[in-house]
Symmetry: C2
Subunit: 285 residues, 2 copies
Protein backbone atom coordinates (compact mmCIF):
# COMPACT_ATOMS: atom_id res chain seq x y z
CA UNK A 1 0.00 0.00 0.00
CA UNK A 2 1.35 3.36 -1.08
CA UNK A 3 0.98 6.45 1.13
CA UNK A 4 2.02 10.07 0.78
CA UNK A 5 4.47 11.63 3.22
CA UNK A 6 5.93 15.11 2.75
CA UNK A 7 5.87 15.07 -1.03
CA UNK A 8 6.85 11.46 -1.56
CA UNK A 9 4.79 8.39 -2.38
CA UNK A 10 6.22 5.55 -0.30
CA UNK A 11 5.16 2.07 0.79
CA UNK A 12 3.22 2.32 4.04
CA UNK A 13 5.89 0.46 6.04
CA UNK A 14 8.42 3.09 5.00
CA UNK A 15 6.21 6.00 6.10
CA UNK A 16 8.19 6.94 9.19
CA UNK A 17 8.35 10.19 11.08
CA UNK A 18 11.04 11.49 13.45
CA UNK A 19 10.33 11.30 17.19
CA UNK A 20 10.75 15.09 17.07
CA UNK A 21 7.54 15.47 15.08
CA UNK A 22 5.19 17.82 16.90
CA UNK A 23 2.33 15.48 16.09
CA UNK A 24 3.98 12.81 18.23
CA UNK A 25 5.21 15.18 20.98
CA UNK A 26 2.24 17.56 21.34
CA UNK A 27 -0.60 16.27 19.19
CA UNK A 28 0.10 19.53 17.37
CA UNK A 29 -1.81 18.92 14.18
CA UNK A 30 -5.13 18.49 12.45
CA UNK A 31 -6.62 15.72 10.34
CA UNK A 32 -9.43 14.83 7.99
CA UNK A 33 -11.11 11.56 7.05
CA UNK A 34 -12.87 11.53 3.69
CA UNK A 35 -15.20 8.86 2.38
CA UNK A 36 -14.52 7.39 -1.04
CA UNK A 37 -17.27 5.62 -2.96
CA UNK A 38 -16.38 4.07 -6.33
CA UNK A 39 -13.23 6.13 -6.52
CA UNK A 40 -14.89 9.46 -5.80
CA UNK A 41 -13.92 11.33 -2.59
CA UNK A 42 -17.20 12.55 -1.07
CA UNK A 43 -17.42 16.31 -0.44
CA UNK A 44 -13.66 16.67 -0.97
CA UNK A 45 -14.02 20.44 -1.22
CA UNK A 46 -15.66 20.76 2.19
CA UNK A 47 -13.00 18.56 3.78
CA UNK A 48 -10.27 20.65 2.14
CA UNK A 49 -11.87 23.87 3.44
CA UNK A 50 -12.14 22.46 6.95
CA UNK A 51 -8.52 21.33 6.81
CA UNK A 52 -7.55 24.88 5.84
CA UNK A 53 -9.69 26.30 8.64
CA UNK A 54 -7.94 23.92 11.06
CA UNK A 55 -4.36 24.75 10.13
CA UNK A 56 -5.20 28.45 10.12
CA UNK A 57 -6.88 28.10 13.53
CA UNK A 58 -3.73 26.53 14.94
CA UNK A 59 -1.47 28.86 12.92
CA UNK A 60 0.23 25.96 11.15
CA UNK A 61 2.00 27.36 8.13
CA UNK A 62 0.62 25.13 5.36
CA UNK A 63 1.24 26.69 1.92
CA UNK A 64 -1.81 28.32 0.34
CA UNK A 65 -3.73 25.93 -1.89
CA UNK A 66 -2.01 22.86 -0.44
CA UNK A 67 -5.38 21.70 0.90
CA UNK A 68 -6.61 21.35 -2.68
CA UNK A 69 -3.44 19.64 -3.84
CA UNK A 70 -4.09 17.05 -1.13
CA UNK A 71 -7.33 16.13 -2.85
CA UNK A 72 -5.28 15.32 -5.95
CA UNK A 73 -2.89 13.33 -3.75
CA UNK A 74 -5.88 11.42 -2.39
CA UNK A 75 -7.12 10.66 -5.90
CA UNK A 76 -3.71 9.34 -6.91
CA UNK A 77 -3.56 7.13 -3.80
CA UNK A 78 -7.02 5.77 -4.56
CA UNK A 79 -5.95 4.92 -8.12
CA UNK A 80 -2.48 3.55 -7.37
CA UNK A 81 -3.74 1.39 -4.52
CA UNK A 82 -6.55 -0.11 -6.59
CA UNK A 83 -9.28 1.47 -4.47
CA UNK A 84 -11.23 2.85 -7.43
CA UNK A 85 -14.13 0.48 -6.94
CA UNK A 86 -16.25 -0.18 -3.84
CA UNK A 87 -15.65 1.72 -0.61
CA UNK A 88 -12.55 3.35 0.84
CA UNK A 89 -11.47 6.17 3.14
CA UNK A 90 -8.70 8.73 2.87
CA UNK A 91 -6.89 9.94 5.99
CA UNK A 92 -4.98 13.25 5.90
CA UNK A 93 -2.92 14.72 8.71
CA UNK A 94 -0.91 17.93 8.91
CA UNK A 95 1.32 18.67 11.89
CA UNK A 96 3.48 21.65 12.77
CA UNK A 97 6.56 19.71 11.66
CA UNK A 98 9.57 18.03 13.22
CA UNK A 99 12.18 20.18 14.87
CA UNK A 100 14.63 19.81 17.74
CA UNK A 101 14.99 20.91 20.45
CA UNK A 102 11.45 20.31 21.67
CA UNK A 103 9.76 23.54 22.74
CA UNK A 104 6.11 24.20 23.52
CA UNK A 105 6.15 27.42 21.50
CA UNK A 106 6.00 27.27 17.73
CA UNK A 107 9.19 26.26 15.90
CA UNK A 108 11.07 28.87 13.84
CA UNK A 109 9.27 30.37 10.85
CA UNK A 110 9.91 28.29 7.75
CA UNK A 111 9.65 24.95 9.56
CA UNK A 112 7.94 22.66 7.09
CA UNK A 113 4.70 21.07 8.29
CA UNK A 114 4.50 17.30 8.17
CA UNK A 115 1.88 16.17 5.66
CA UNK A 116 0.68 12.59 5.61
CA UNK A 117 -2.07 11.05 3.46
CA UNK A 118 -3.15 7.43 3.40
CA UNK A 119 -6.00 5.57 1.71
CA UNK A 120 -7.52 2.28 2.75
CA UNK A 121 -10.33 -0.11 1.99
CA UNK A 122 -13.46 0.54 4.07
CA UNK A 123 -16.37 -1.68 5.14
CA UNK A 124 -19.36 0.44 6.21
CA UNK A 125 -21.09 -0.74 9.42
CA UNK A 126 -24.26 -1.72 7.57
CA UNK A 127 -25.05 -4.68 9.82
CA UNK A 128 -25.12 -2.43 12.91
CA UNK A 129 -27.20 0.06 10.95
CA UNK A 130 -29.85 -2.55 10.23
CA UNK A 131 -30.65 -3.18 13.90
CA UNK A 132 -29.53 0.23 15.21
CA UNK A 133 -26.63 1.20 17.44
CA UNK A 134 -26.30 1.25 21.20
CA UNK A 135 -24.62 4.35 22.64
CA UNK A 136 -23.29 5.15 26.10
CA UNK A 137 -22.86 8.57 27.65
CA UNK A 138 -19.47 9.93 28.63
CA UNK A 139 -18.70 13.22 30.39
CA UNK A 140 -17.67 15.85 27.85
CA UNK A 141 -14.28 16.60 29.39
CA UNK A 142 -12.84 17.88 26.12
CA UNK A 143 -11.06 21.19 25.70
CA UNK A 144 -12.65 24.47 24.64
CA UNK A 145 -11.95 24.22 20.90
CA UNK A 146 -13.87 21.15 19.78
CA UNK A 147 -14.54 22.99 16.52
CA UNK A 148 -10.96 22.26 15.43
CA UNK A 149 -10.37 18.74 14.14
CA UNK A 150 -7.08 18.27 15.97
CA UNK A 151 -5.22 15.08 16.84
CA UNK A 152 -5.56 15.93 20.57
CA UNK A 153 -8.03 13.06 20.64
CA UNK A 154 -7.57 11.45 24.05
CA UNK A 155 -11.08 12.20 25.38
CA UNK A 156 -12.53 10.83 22.14
CA UNK A 157 -10.37 7.70 22.49
CA UNK A 158 -11.53 7.21 26.09
CA UNK A 159 -15.20 7.81 25.24
CA UNK A 160 -15.09 5.39 22.33
CA UNK A 161 -13.34 2.78 24.45
CA UNK A 162 -16.00 3.21 27.16
CA UNK A 163 -18.55 2.40 24.46
CA UNK A 164 -16.62 -0.67 23.30
CA UNK A 165 -16.24 -1.82 26.93
CA UNK A 166 -20.03 -1.64 27.26
CA UNK A 167 -20.60 -3.49 23.98
CA UNK A 168 -21.89 -0.26 22.41
CA UNK A 169 -21.13 1.46 19.12
CA UNK A 170 -20.43 5.02 20.24
CA UNK A 171 -19.73 7.19 23.26
CA UNK A 172 -21.85 10.31 23.41
CA UNK A 173 -20.50 13.38 25.21
CA UNK A 174 -22.71 15.09 27.77
CA UNK A 175 -21.79 18.50 29.17
CA UNK A 176 -23.91 20.06 31.91
CA UNK A 177 -26.77 17.75 31.01
CA UNK A 178 -26.62 18.63 27.32
CA UNK A 179 -25.70 16.22 24.53
CA UNK A 180 -22.90 17.84 22.53
CA UNK A 181 -21.79 15.16 20.06
CA UNK A 182 -20.34 11.67 19.84
CA UNK A 183 -16.68 10.66 20.10
CA UNK A 184 -16.61 10.34 16.30
CA UNK A 185 -20.09 11.41 15.27
CA UNK A 186 -22.72 14.14 15.34
CA UNK A 187 -25.85 13.28 17.34
CA UNK A 188 -29.36 14.06 16.08
CA UNK A 189 -32.62 13.51 17.96
CA UNK A 190 -36.25 13.70 16.91
CA UNK A 191 -38.57 15.39 19.40
CA UNK A 192 -42.16 16.31 18.50
CA UNK A 193 -41.49 15.34 14.86
CA UNK A 194 -38.72 17.92 14.78
CA UNK A 195 -35.07 17.17 14.09
CA UNK A 196 -32.60 18.62 16.60
CA UNK A 197 -28.82 18.77 16.74
CA UNK A 198 -26.35 20.82 18.76
CA UNK A 199 -25.59 24.23 17.19
CA UNK A 200 -22.16 24.99 15.76
CA UNK A 201 -19.65 26.73 17.99
CA UNK A 202 -16.62 25.76 20.03
CA UNK A 203 -18.37 22.76 21.64
CA UNK A 204 -18.69 20.59 18.52
CA UNK A 205 -16.93 19.78 15.30
CA UNK A 206 -18.38 21.37 12.16
CA UNK A 207 -19.01 17.95 10.72
CA UNK A 208 -19.29 17.62 6.95
CA UNK A 209 -21.88 14.84 7.28
CA UNK A 210 -23.87 16.99 9.75
CA UNK A 211 -23.97 19.72 7.11
CA UNK A 212 -25.08 17.30 4.39
CA UNK A 213 -27.77 15.79 6.65
CA UNK A 214 -29.11 19.27 7.39
CA UNK A 215 -29.28 19.95 3.65
CA UNK A 216 -31.06 16.67 3.03
CA UNK A 217 -33.52 17.38 5.84
CA UNK A 218 -34.31 20.76 4.28
CA UNK A 219 -34.83 19.15 0.86
CA UNK A 220 -37.16 16.59 2.44
CA UNK A 221 -39.17 19.27 4.22
CA UNK A 222 -38.20 18.07 7.69
CA UNK A 223 -38.48 20.76 10.35
CA UNK A 224 -35.02 21.13 11.84
CA UNK A 225 -33.51 23.23 14.61
CA UNK A 226 -29.81 23.54 15.36
CA UNK A 227 -30.59 23.54 19.02
CA UNK A 228 -29.13 21.46 21.83
CA UNK A 229 -31.15 18.78 23.56
CA UNK A 230 -30.54 17.26 26.96
CA UNK A 231 -29.62 13.74 27.89
CA UNK A 232 -32.97 13.54 29.71
CA UNK A 233 -34.75 14.40 26.47
CA UNK A 234 -32.74 11.77 24.60
CA UNK A 235 -33.70 9.20 27.24
CA UNK A 236 -37.30 10.37 27.49
CA UNK A 237 -39.19 12.43 24.96
CA UNK A 238 -37.06 11.60 21.91
CA UNK A 239 -38.90 9.31 19.50
CA UNK A 240 -35.79 8.69 17.36
CA UNK A 241 -32.09 9.47 17.39
CA UNK A 242 -29.20 8.89 15.06
CA UNK A 243 -25.50 9.46 14.69
CA UNK A 244 -23.92 10.92 11.57
CA UNK A 245 -20.33 10.85 10.37
CA UNK A 246 -18.08 10.18 7.41
CA UNK A 247 -17.79 6.50 8.30
CA UNK A 248 -21.07 5.84 10.16
CA UNK A 249 -23.25 7.71 7.60
CA UNK A 250 -26.70 7.99 9.20
CA UNK A 251 -26.62 5.42 11.99
CA UNK A 252 -29.81 4.85 14.03
CA UNK A 253 -29.16 5.11 17.79
CA UNK A 254 -31.65 2.82 19.47
CA UNK A 255 -30.46 2.76 23.08
CA UNK A 256 -28.53 4.96 25.45
CA UNK A 257 -26.82 3.48 28.51
CA UNK A 258 -28.90 0.36 28.00
CA UNK A 259 -32.31 2.08 27.91
CA UNK A 260 -34.27 2.21 24.65
CA UNK A 261 -34.58 5.44 22.68
CA UNK A 262 -38.17 5.78 21.47
CA UNK A 263 -39.41 2.27 20.78
CA UNK A 264 -35.83 0.98 20.64
CA UNK A 265 -35.87 0.51 16.88
CA UNK A 266 -34.55 2.61 13.99
CA UNK A 267 -37.06 5.38 13.35
CA UNK A 268 -38.81 6.44 10.17
CA UNK A 269 -37.17 9.86 9.85
CA UNK A 270 -33.79 8.23 10.45
CA UNK A 271 -34.44 5.72 7.65
CA UNK A 272 -35.56 8.46 5.28
CA UNK A 273 -32.46 10.55 5.94
CA UNK A 274 -30.21 7.49 5.81
CA UNK A 275 -31.56 6.53 2.42
CA UNK A 276 -31.14 10.09 1.16
CA UNK A 277 -27.52 10.19 2.36
CA UNK A 278 -26.82 6.80 0.77
CA UNK A 279 -28.05 8.23 -2.54
CA UNK A 280 -25.88 11.36 -2.14
CA UNK A 281 -22.91 9.09 -1.41
CA UNK A 282 -23.62 7.06 -4.52
CA UNK A 283 -24.28 4.03 -2.33
CA UNK A 284 -28.00 3.97 -3.03
CA UNK A 285 -29.69 1.55 -5.29
CA UNK B 1 23.39 11.66 20.03
CA UNK B 2 22.02 8.29 21.08
CA UNK B 3 18.37 7.83 22.04
CA UNK B 4 16.30 4.89 23.21
CA UNK B 5 13.37 3.61 21.16
CA UNK B 6 11.48 0.41 21.95
CA UNK B 7 14.42 -1.42 23.46
CA UNK B 8 17.12 -0.19 21.09
CA UNK B 9 19.74 2.50 21.46
CA UNK B 10 19.91 4.30 18.13
CA UNK B 11 21.31 7.56 16.75
CA UNK B 12 18.68 10.28 17.12
CA UNK B 13 18.28 10.67 13.34
CA UNK B 14 17.36 7.00 13.11
CA UNK B 15 14.70 7.25 15.85
CA UNK B 16 11.68 6.99 13.57
CA UNK B 17 8.15 5.93 14.33
CA UNK B 18 5.44 4.65 11.99
CA UNK B 19 2.70 7.09 10.97
CA UNK B 20 0.37 4.56 12.61
CA UNK B 21 1.74 5.39 16.06
CA UNK B 22 -1.12 6.44 18.32
CA UNK B 23 1.07 9.21 19.68
CA UNK B 24 1.06 10.77 16.21
CA UNK B 25 -2.58 9.99 15.38
CA UNK B 26 -4.31 10.68 18.72
CA UNK B 27 -1.76 12.18 21.11
CA UNK B 28 -2.47 8.91 22.91
CA UNK B 29 0.42 8.88 25.34
CA UNK B 30 2.10 10.37 28.37
CA UNK B 31 5.53 11.88 28.96
CA UNK B 32 7.99 13.02 31.60
CA UNK B 33 10.82 15.53 31.60
CA UNK B 34 13.47 14.97 34.26
CA UNK B 35 16.24 17.36 35.23
CA UNK B 36 19.79 16.07 35.31
CA UNK B 37 22.46 17.90 37.29
CA UNK B 38 26.03 16.55 37.14
CA UNK B 39 24.79 13.23 35.83
CA UNK B 40 22.13 12.70 38.48
CA UNK B 41 18.45 12.60 37.44
CA UNK B 42 16.58 14.74 39.98
CA UNK B 43 13.72 12.99 41.77
CA UNK B 44 13.81 10.13 39.29
CA UNK B 45 11.61 8.02 41.57
CA UNK B 46 8.83 10.60 41.64
CA UNK B 47 8.94 10.98 37.85
CA UNK B 48 8.79 7.20 37.46
CA UNK B 49 5.79 7.00 39.79
CA UNK B 50 3.99 9.76 37.92
CA UNK B 51 4.72 8.03 34.60
CA UNK B 52 3.19 4.84 36.03
CA UNK B 53 0.18 6.79 37.29
CA UNK B 54 -0.19 8.30 33.81
CA UNK B 55 -0.10 5.06 31.84
CA UNK B 56 -2.44 3.42 34.35
CA UNK B 57 -4.78 6.42 34.12
CA UNK B 58 -4.94 6.03 30.35
CA UNK B 59 -4.94 2.21 30.56
CA UNK B 60 -1.77 1.94 28.49
CA UNK B 61 -0.37 -1.53 29.02
CA UNK B 62 3.22 -0.74 30.06
CA UNK B 63 4.87 -3.78 31.70
CA UNK B 64 5.11 -3.58 35.48
CA UNK B 65 8.39 -2.08 36.65
CA UNK B 66 9.19 -0.65 33.22
CA UNK B 67 8.97 2.87 34.71
CA UNK B 68 11.97 2.05 36.87
CA UNK B 69 13.88 0.43 34.01
CA UNK B 70 13.46 3.72 32.17
CA UNK B 71 15.45 5.48 34.89
CA UNK B 72 18.30 3.07 34.10
CA UNK B 73 17.83 3.83 30.41
CA UNK B 74 18.07 7.55 31.21
CA UNK B 75 21.30 7.00 33.15
CA UNK B 76 22.82 5.10 30.26
CA UNK B 77 21.84 7.85 27.81
CA UNK B 78 23.36 10.46 30.09
CA UNK B 79 26.63 8.49 30.25
CA UNK B 80 26.84 7.47 26.58
CA UNK B 81 26.05 10.96 25.36
CA UNK B 82 28.66 12.59 27.58
CA UNK B 83 26.08 14.46 29.64
CA UNK B 84 27.51 13.41 33.01
CA UNK B 85 28.72 16.90 33.85
CA UNK B 86 26.80 20.18 33.92
CA UNK B 87 23.09 20.31 33.15
CA UNK B 88 20.87 18.11 31.01
CA UNK B 89 17.28 16.94 30.72
CA UNK B 90 15.81 13.54 29.96
CA UNK B 91 12.59 13.26 27.96
CA UNK B 92 10.50 10.05 28.17
CA UNK B 93 7.35 9.28 26.24
CA UNK B 94 5.10 6.23 26.23
CA UNK B 95 2.27 5.88 23.70
CA UNK B 96 -0.35 3.19 23.18
CA UNK B 97 1.68 1.81 20.28
CA UNK B 98 1.49 1.67 16.51
CA UNK B 99 -1.20 -0.42 14.92
CA UNK B 100 -3.23 -0.35 11.71
CA UNK B 101 -6.02 0.15 10.93
CA UNK B 102 -6.52 3.38 12.89
CA UNK B 103 -9.37 3.08 15.38
CA UNK B 104 -10.31 5.41 18.22
CA UNK B 105 -10.81 2.51 20.60
CA UNK B 106 -7.79 0.80 22.13
CA UNK B 107 -5.84 -1.57 19.88
CA UNK B 108 -5.93 -5.33 20.54
CA UNK B 109 -4.54 -6.56 23.86
CA UNK B 110 -0.85 -7.30 23.55
CA UNK B 111 -0.12 -4.27 21.34
CA UNK B 112 3.29 -3.08 22.47
CA UNK B 113 3.44 0.51 23.71
CA UNK B 114 5.94 2.79 22.02
CA UNK B 115 8.67 3.85 24.46
CA UNK B 116 11.01 6.70 23.61
CA UNK B 117 13.71 8.26 25.80
CA UNK B 118 16.09 11.04 24.82
CA UNK B 119 18.64 13.08 26.75
CA UNK B 120 19.95 16.50 25.87
CA UNK B 121 22.13 19.31 27.12
CA UNK B 122 20.19 21.96 29.04
CA UNK B 123 20.85 25.64 29.75
CA UNK B 124 18.72 26.85 32.69
CA UNK B 125 17.05 30.26 32.18
CA UNK B 126 19.18 31.92 34.85
CA UNK B 127 19.35 35.30 33.09
CA UNK B 128 15.54 35.57 33.06
CA UNK B 129 15.50 34.45 36.69
CA UNK B 130 17.78 37.31 37.69
CA UNK B 131 15.38 40.03 36.54
CA UNK B 132 12.19 37.99 36.89
CA UNK B 133 9.77 36.69 34.27
CA UNK B 134 6.84 38.34 32.58
CA UNK B 135 3.72 36.19 32.27
CA UNK B 136 0.53 36.61 30.29
CA UNK B 137 -2.85 35.12 31.07
CA UNK B 138 -4.56 32.66 28.76
CA UNK B 139 -8.03 31.12 29.12
CA UNK B 140 -7.79 27.65 30.63
CA UNK B 141 -9.51 25.82 27.82
CA UNK B 142 -7.84 22.51 28.64
CA UNK B 143 -9.67 19.24 29.10
CA UNK B 144 -10.90 17.81 32.39
CA UNK B 145 -7.89 15.60 33.18
CA UNK B 146 -5.02 18.06 33.55
CA UNK B 147 -3.66 15.77 36.27
CA UNK B 148 -2.46 13.38 33.58
CA UNK B 149 0.77 14.41 31.86
CA UNK B 150 -0.41 13.52 28.38
CA UNK B 151 0.89 14.63 25.00
CA UNK B 152 -2.50 16.20 24.22
CA UNK B 153 -0.68 19.51 24.65
CA UNK B 154 -2.29 21.87 22.16
CA UNK B 155 -3.70 24.34 24.70
CA UNK B 156 -0.30 24.44 26.40
CA UNK B 157 1.37 25.05 23.04
CA UNK B 158 -1.06 27.89 22.27
CA UNK B 159 -0.70 29.47 25.73
CA UNK B 160 3.09 29.32 25.58
CA UNK B 161 3.06 30.81 22.08
CA UNK B 162 0.77 33.63 23.28
CA UNK B 163 3.44 34.37 25.90
CA UNK B 164 6.24 34.35 23.33
CA UNK B 165 4.16 36.59 21.02
CA UNK B 166 3.88 39.08 23.91
CA UNK B 167 7.59 38.86 24.71
CA UNK B 168 6.77 37.03 27.94
CA UNK B 169 8.19 33.86 29.51
CA UNK B 170 5.06 31.91 30.32
CA UNK B 171 1.33 31.71 29.69
CA UNK B 172 -0.73 31.31 32.83
CA UNK B 173 -4.10 29.57 32.62
CA UNK B 174 -7.13 31.26 34.18
CA UNK B 175 -10.40 29.40 34.64
CA UNK B 176 -13.46 31.20 35.98
CA UNK B 177 -11.21 33.93 37.39
CA UNK B 178 -8.94 31.46 39.15
CA UNK B 179 -5.28 30.89 38.34
CA UNK B 180 -4.84 27.16 37.77
CA UNK B 181 -1.24 26.76 36.55
CA UNK B 182 1.12 27.77 33.76
CA UNK B 183 1.47 26.17 30.33
CA UNK B 184 4.60 24.40 31.60
CA UNK B 185 4.80 25.47 35.24
CA UNK B 186 3.06 25.59 38.61
CA UNK B 187 2.14 29.10 39.79
CA UNK B 188 2.72 30.23 43.38
CA UNK B 189 1.69 33.58 44.88
CA UNK B 190 2.47 35.26 48.18
CA UNK B 191 -0.49 36.98 49.83
CA UNK B 192 -0.27 38.28 53.42
CA UNK B 193 3.13 36.59 53.83
CA UNK B 194 1.47 33.28 53.03
CA UNK B 195 2.39 31.05 50.11
CA UNK B 196 -0.52 29.88 47.97
CA UNK B 197 -0.81 27.46 45.08
CA UNK B 198 -3.74 25.69 43.41
CA UNK B 199 -4.72 22.44 45.15
CA UNK B 200 -4.19 19.09 43.44
CA UNK B 201 -7.08 17.59 41.51
CA UNK B 202 -8.09 17.27 37.89
CA UNK B 203 -7.39 20.93 37.11
CA UNK B 204 -3.60 20.84 37.50
CA UNK B 205 -0.63 18.57 37.00
CA UNK B 206 0.80 16.97 40.14
CA UNK B 207 4.12 18.67 39.48
CA UNK B 208 7.23 17.14 41.00
CA UNK B 209 8.80 20.58 41.47
CA UNK B 210 5.59 21.83 43.11
CA UNK B 211 5.88 18.98 45.59
CA UNK B 212 9.54 19.74 46.29
CA UNK B 213 8.83 23.47 46.72
CA UNK B 214 6.07 22.67 49.22
CA UNK B 215 8.52 20.49 51.15
CA UNK B 216 11.14 23.23 51.12
CA UNK B 217 8.59 25.80 52.27
CA UNK B 218 7.65 23.54 55.18
CA UNK B 219 11.31 23.09 56.12
CA UNK B 220 11.79 26.85 56.00
CA UNK B 221 8.76 27.48 58.21
CA UNK B 222 6.83 29.29 55.49
CA UNK B 223 3.06 29.23 56.01
CA UNK B 224 1.59 27.56 52.94
CA UNK B 225 -1.91 26.77 51.76
CA UNK B 226 -2.76 24.61 48.78
CA UNK B 227 -5.57 26.95 47.93
CA UNK B 228 -6.45 28.64 44.66
CA UNK B 229 -6.03 32.37 44.19
CA UNK B 230 -7.71 34.59 41.64
CA UNK B 231 -6.21 36.52 38.78
CA UNK B 232 -7.39 39.68 40.56
CA UNK B 233 -5.38 38.68 43.64
CA UNK B 234 -2.33 37.99 41.49
CA UNK B 235 -2.70 41.43 39.89
CA UNK B 236 -3.55 43.17 43.15
CA UNK B 237 -2.87 41.90 46.65
CA UNK B 238 -0.04 39.49 45.79
CA UNK B 239 3.32 40.80 46.99
CA UNK B 240 5.27 38.11 45.13
CA UNK B 241 4.69 35.31 42.68
CA UNK B 242 6.77 32.63 41.06
CA UNK B 243 6.60 29.76 38.63
CA UNK B 244 8.04 26.34 39.38
CA UNK B 245 8.93 23.49 37.06
CA UNK B 246 11.58 20.95 36.15
CA UNK B 247 13.25 23.36 33.72
CA UNK B 248 12.32 26.79 35.18
CA UNK B 249 13.14 25.81 38.80
CA UNK B 250 11.80 28.63 40.97
CA UNK B 251 11.28 31.48 38.52
CA UNK B 252 10.15 34.86 39.89
CA UNK B 253 7.07 36.19 38.05
CA UNK B 254 7.30 39.97 38.16
CA UNK B 255 4.54 41.05 35.80
CA UNK B 256 1.26 39.73 34.48
CA UNK B 257 -0.21 41.03 31.22
CA UNK B 258 2.22 43.94 31.47
CA UNK B 259 1.27 45.06 35.00
CA UNK B 260 3.76 44.59 37.85
CA UNK B 261 3.22 41.90 40.48
CA UNK B 262 4.03 43.39 43.90
CA UNK B 263 6.83 45.89 43.35
CA UNK B 264 7.68 44.30 40.01
CA UNK B 265 10.87 42.69 41.27
CA UNK B 266 11.73 39.17 42.43
CA UNK B 267 10.52 38.85 46.02
CA UNK B 268 12.37 37.74 49.16
CA UNK B 269 10.38 34.53 49.73
CA UNK B 270 10.86 33.64 46.08
CA UNK B 271 14.64 34.10 46.40
CA UNK B 272 14.75 32.02 49.58
CA UNK B 273 12.83 29.16 47.99
CA UNK B 274 14.81 29.46 44.77
CA UNK B 275 18.08 29.17 46.67
CA UNK B 276 16.77 26.19 48.61
CA UNK B 277 15.69 24.44 45.39
CA UNK B 278 19.05 25.16 43.78
CA UNK B 279 20.72 23.44 46.73
CA UNK B 280 18.36 20.45 46.48
CA UNK B 281 19.19 20.24 42.79
CA UNK B 282 22.89 20.32 43.52
CA UNK B 283 23.12 23.61 41.62
CA UNK B 284 23.80 25.66 44.76
CA UNK B 285 27.14 27.02 45.73
Amino acid sequence: MLVYLNGDYVPRERALIPVDDRGFLFGDGIYEVTRVVRGRPFEAGRHARRLRRGVDGLRIDLPTGMEDELTAVAERLIAENGLGDGEATVYMQVTRGAVAPRTHQFPPAGTRPTVYVGAQRFAPPDAVRERGAAVVTYPDIRWGRCDLKTVNLLPNVLAKQAAVDAGAFEGVFVRDGTVTEGAQTTVFAVLDDTLLTHPLGERILPSVTREVVLELAAELGITTYEEAFTIDELRGAATEAFLASTTADVMPAVSVDGAPIGDGRPGAMTRTLGDALARRLGRGD
